[in-house]
Symmetry: C2
Subunit: 196 residues, 2 copies
C-alpha cells in the first residue's frame, strides 16, 4: 500500500492545480500538466474531477472558501455584535488585499477563474452575506442594533456598501495611501446606521 | 466671413472627436480622422488642441462634465437635504446606467479614455464629492443631519459606499433584476446613518 503522502486525494490534486495555474497561466494550464506535476496519469486526475471545467471550478471554490472559513470564526465568536461586524469586514478586506498584493499573478489567474465560474462566486457571496446576516441578527437580538429592517436585506446592503474594500475590481486602489482611512470612514457611517 | 455654423470651435472639434472615436475605436482614431470629419486640415485641429493626447483628454473631460453638470442643479435646489441626497445619488446612478446601456461601444471607448486620463478622472471625482459635501453641509446646518463629523469626509464615505451604483466596473450588474432594490437598501442605510 502506498504511504499516506502518496495517496492521490482531491486536495492534493487541487494544490497541484493551483501551482500549475500559477506557473502556466489559466489559458495554457491543462489536466496533463496537473497529472505530470503529481507524477500520475491524467486518468487518475479525471477519476476525481470528471472534466477540466469541474477541476477549475473546484480550485476556484477552494480559493474562495479559504476566505469564508477565516470569517466564519468571527461570526461564531461570543462578542459584541458591533465589534464582530467591524472585525468581520476588516478581516475580509485584509484577506482580499493579501491575496491581491502577495501574489499578483495568482490573483490575476483567479480573476479569470471566477469570471468563468459565476455559480461558485454567487454561492460564495451568498455564504458571506449569510454570515453577515447572522451578525446583524445577533445585534438586533442583543438590542445593540435597531430592529425593524430585515437582517438579510441589511446584510446585503452592508456587503454592497463596502464593495470598495473587498471587490477585486478595486484591487489597484488597495495600495493607495488613505485607503485605511476611507475604510474606517465607511465603517463608522454604517455602524451609525445600525445602532439602536 | 464664414457663417457661424462653419466656425471651427473647440466644441465642434470635440463633438467630431467623439463620433470618430465611436466609429474607429480608441486604438485607431487619429487627429487626421477628426479633421477629415470636419472638412478641415489637421493643422486647424492642432490650433485648438496642441496634441492628440490633449484632444483625448478634453473629450474625456467633456463626457464626465455632462454628468457633473446634471448633478449640480440638484445640489443648488432649495429642498430638504435628505431628498437632495437621494435624488443626487439616484440621478448619478441613472446617468451612468444610461451611458453604459444606451451606447455600450461608446461607453467602452470612454472606459479606455478614462484609464488614460487619471488626472481628469480624479478632478471629476473631486468635483462630485465636493457637490456631495455641500449637500451634507446643508443637512448639518438645517439640523436634519447629525453634526460632529467632517462633511467632506462623510461625503467621501457616501461616495465610496455607493460605488456599486456608479462605478463603471459594475456596469454589468446594472442590468440585473433587483439592482433598484439593492440601491434603495443601501440608500436607506446611509440616510439612517446621517439623520440627527
Amino acid at each position: 500500500m502506498a504511504p499516506t503522502s502518496e495517496i492521490l486525494t482531491a486536495e492534493r490534486i487541487l494544490e497541484a492545480t493551483e501551482e500549475v495555474l500559477r506557473r502556466h497561466g489559466p489559458a495554457k494550464a491543462t489536466v496533463v500538466d496537473v497529472a505530470r506535476a503529481l507524477g500520475v496519469s491524467h486518468g487518475s486526475v479525471y477519476r476525481h474531477f470528471r472534466t477540466k471545467a469541474a477541476l477549475r471550478e473546484a480550485v476556484t471554490k477552494r480559493w474562495l472558501d479559504r476566505t469564508s472559513g477565516e470569517l466564519a470564526g468571527i461570526v461564531a465568536a461570543d462578542r459584541d455584535p458591533e465589534a464582530r461586524l467591524r472585525d468581520w469586514l476588516a478581516t475580509l478586506f485584509a484577506a482580499k488585499r493579501r491575496k491581491a498584493g502577495d501574489d499578483p499573478e495568482l490573483f490575476a489567474t483567479y480573476m479569470v477563474l471566477t469570471g468563468e465560474n459565476g455559480t461558485v462566486v454567487r454561492e460564495h457571496i451568498a455564504d458571506l452575506t449569510g454570515q453577515l446576516t447572522r451578525i446583524v441578527e445577533a445585534g438586533v437580538e442583543s438590542g445593540a442594533f435597531a430592529a425593524g429592517t430585515d437582517p438579510a436585506m441589511t446584510a446585503r446592503a452592508l456587503f454592497h456598501a463596502t464593495g470598495r474594500f473587498h471587490d477585486p475590481c478595486y484591487a489597484r486602489e488597495w495600495e493607495e495611501p488613505g485607503i485605511e482611512a476611507d475604510f474606517t470612514a465607511v465603517m463608522d457611517l454604517l455602524v451609525r446606521a445600525l445602532r439602536a
